[in-house]
């Protein structure tokens, strides 16, 4: 008797909710029931949210990341009007329920049992997991999101833009002889003394730019930390160039007496990534990594790799954000 009532209650609850129309297999291999038509999307992590700013900003309920006015000007108009609602762990769960998302998108972090996915399940919100690292998975991520949101054509366009760009860059750096391949140190932290080892996905910008990472470690990649180094170790490594994650780090390295002991620093081989509308290299990982890799490849091999910052950035913005950048925009991006 009691069981029957419980079943009736569950039945009533299910009737009041929109019926799950189809099953989709997400990039973590989970089977998730999602509504056929998705109109309201909450993205819990920055990288997939940035994918969405290009693919379907009109479906976003807000951004998980905060945006400065300077950054906002370099997002498409549909993103500028979005509220900042916070991401996983920060959003107020009741507010999230009140926003009534049709689907929640979570970054499929490798090997980590996902607390956010469990939380969404408890709230009865369908949550799909999407790869956001390494860079080679981005086209697949766009195509997956395209299927989820019925934006297949646009997703295909963006996926192909990434594939074509990456392929062109690969061709340009493929025939560099080993003797001429630059050995690069990646300065990850503000003080420049934290880095990523060769092969680690967070430092993949080095390999993407056709260089080899001067820092080699024995331990495998995974959910490992940044690696700390010191200047003496760097002197021993003697990299040909330094890729700095931020402009502030690059300026520090160029002006600091200790760092100037490095051959790469003295030879003006310190390069920094642009930071608008967010860092192009990582934190967050995003499609802008393609532009960063092309730019760094040109910095490292100016004779081999062609890269016109203004033209390439304009084309990238045209494809991904359907925006025509002004000269002032380009200047601010280059800064």
């Amino acid at each position: 008797m009691r069981g029957a009532q419980v079943l009736a209650l569950i039945g009533a609850l299910m009737l009041s909710a929109p019926a799950p129309a189809r099953e989709i297999v997400d990039m973590a291999g989970r089977h998730v029931d999602v509504p056929d038509v998705v109109r309201r999307v909450f993205v819990a992590h920055d990288p997939p949210a940035i994918f969405m700013t290009a693919l379907a900003p009109d479906l976003l309920l807000g951004t998980p990341f905060s945006r400065s006015p300077a950054a906002d000007a370099l997002f498409p108009p549909a993103v500028r009007s979005l509220p900042v609602i916070g991401g996983a762990m920060r959003i107020n769960l009741e507010r999230l329920v009140a926003l009534a998302p049709d689907v929640v998108i979570i970054w499929n972090m490798r090997g980590q049992p996902d607390e956010t996915a469990r939380q969404m399940q408890a709230l009865g919100l369908p949550a799909v997991m999407v790869d956001a690292a390494p860079f080679s998975h981005y086209p697949a991520a766009f195509r997956f999101l395209g299927r989820l949101l019925h934006r297949e054509a646009r997703a295909e366009e963006l996926a192909q833009a990434l594939e074509t760009g990456a392929l062109r860059l690969q061709d340009e750096v493929a025939d560099i002889p080993e003797s001429e391949r630059k050995r690069v140190y990646y300065a990850d932290s503000v003080d420049g003394l934290k880095s990523q080892c060769a092969g680690f996905f967070r430092g993949e910008i080095v390999e993407l730019s056709g260089a080899s990472n001067a820092l080699r470690c024995d331990r495998p990649d995974g959910m490992t930390a940044s690696v700390g180094v010191n200047l003496e170790k760097l002197l021993v490594l003697d990299p040909d160039a330094v890729l700095a994650r931020t402009g502030a780090t690059a300026r520090l390295l160029r002006s600091d007496a200790g760092w100037r002991a490095l051959r790469a620093v003295r030879g003006a081989q310190v390069f920094a990534a642009p930071e608008l509308p967010f860092n192009w290299v990582e934190r967050p990982h995003s499609q802008f990594k393609l532009l960063a890799a092309q730019m760094f490849a040109h910095d490292l091999y100016p004779d081999r790799v062609r890269f016109d910052f203004a033209a390439e950035t304009r084309a990238f913005y045209k494809t991904f954000y359907r925006m025509d950048l002004t000269d002032a925009d380009v200047a601010r991006l280059r800064k």
């Binding site: 609850l13 769960l93 329920v97 980590q112």
Partner: protein, 362 residues
């Protein structure tokens, strides 16, 4: 042969003594009633609007036998908000508050020192250290609690041994020992954060270190409830003996108490509560220190009444503060930050008052 506890040394005028006595007797029931009201009100509050009648109906539907259940209509979303988001969070907050209040009151009584608390003694730091290690290594929940307990207990033992090495007695040695132990474990926090992955584990660690009930769920309640029930229950059963500990050892031994074993039991039980709390919601600082002071204002210094009152006030305090945390800003405000901003000034005021009394009372 009721004992007059050592802390209460002021000679109150006779007239107000009756009033004090009345307050001591009625204090606990009034507090229990207040807790119920605060809990019920908190269930009605939140960013998502659920009509109070629906809240009552959902709750009734959850706990009443089926023939008594109301036949109200509420949405599935409201059901989720009340049962999945609010109820576990409030239960977790109340349990943590009650546990911290008990642990704080017991430690203050045992050490004859109203200026100690789980965080000042380094227990929270130690427990957090154990917990961070567990997060870093990806251990399951049982490992997290065990590791947090080991850390908390080690910290507590270190602090009390260190304090005992001093012959001076009084407030200073134990407070200093706590500072030393806390500083040591804080350094270990730094080390663990330094080695943690910036993208996946570090945010979780930092967030956890600040303390928050935002990620509360039924599972976490199921971890903390037995810990608080067991260790808190044991402390409440021991409460009249804690009165004896607040005498000095010589007098207590004369009354036939094995103070050594008792002291260690109280230490272990307090550490267990704090470890359980830290394991599910991170460091919630200051509550364990200031809640017993509020309780003493209401029911006096006798631990037979002070311990239950501290548990109740602790639960009320964290519920109210967490209500502020989840209502004030569009994003979550971690409770650890709020309790510290309330607790530190309150502690400063208490310290100032006690110092003034010490010098002015001559």
């Amino acid at each position: 042969m009721p004992m007059s506890p050592a802390c209460e040394s002021e000679a109150a005028p006779l007239r107000s003594q009756a009033a004090t006595r009345w307050r001591e007797l009625t204090g606990t029931p009034v507090l229990a009633l207040t807790l119920l009201i605060v809990f019920a009100a908190s269930l009605m509050l939140g960013a998502y609007r659920v009509p109070p009648t629906h809240v009552v109906e959902i709750l009734a539907n959850l706990c009443l036998p089926e023939s008594w259940r109301p036949s109200g209509i509420w949405s599935a979303t409201e059901q989720t908000v009340v049962t999945v988001i609010r109820l576990p969070r409030l239960l977790l907050g109340a349990l943590a508050g009650a546990g911290l209040g008990l642990a704080g009151a017991s430690l203050q009584g045992m050490m004859r020192n109203p200026l100690v608390g789980p965080d000042l003694l380094g227990v929270s730091s130690g427990a957090a250290c154990g917990g961070m290690l567990a997060i870093l290594m990806g251990w399951p929940d049982a490992g997290l609690v065990a590791s947090a307990f080991a850390g908390g207990f080690i910290a507590l033992v270190c602090a009390s041994l260190l304090a005992r090495a001093s012959r001076g007695g009084g407030v200073l040695p134990i407070v200093l020992a706590g500072v030393v132990v806390s500083a040591f474990f804080t350094a270990l926090h730094g080390l663990i954060q330094y080695t943690a992955d910036a993208e996946s584990k570090l945010p979780a660690l930092v967030y956890w270190l600040i303390g928050s009930f935002a990620a509360a769920n039924a599972h976490k309640v199921a971890i903390l409830a037995p810990v608080v029930a067991f260790a808190g229950g044991a402390l409440i059963l021991l409460r009249w003996r804690i009165n004896l500990l607040s005498l000095d050892d010589f007098e207590a031994e004369a009354l036939g108490q094995k103070t050594r074993a008792l002291r260690w039991s109280v230490l272990a039980l307090a550490a267990l509560i704090v470890a359980g709390q830290v394991a599910v919601s991170g460091i919630v600082g200051w509550a364990g220190l200031i809640v017993p002071h509020f309780a003493r204002m209401v029911v006096g210094a006798d631990h037979r009444r002070l311990l239950p009152a501290s548990a109740l006030i602790g639960a009320i305090f964290l519920l109210v503060v967490d209500d502020v945390g989840r209502m004030l800003a569009p994003q979550e405000l971690p409770i650890g930050i709020l309790t510290a901003t309330i607790g530190a000034p309150a502690f400063a005021a208490l310290f100032w008052r006690s110092q003034r009394r010490a010098t002015g009372g001559e």
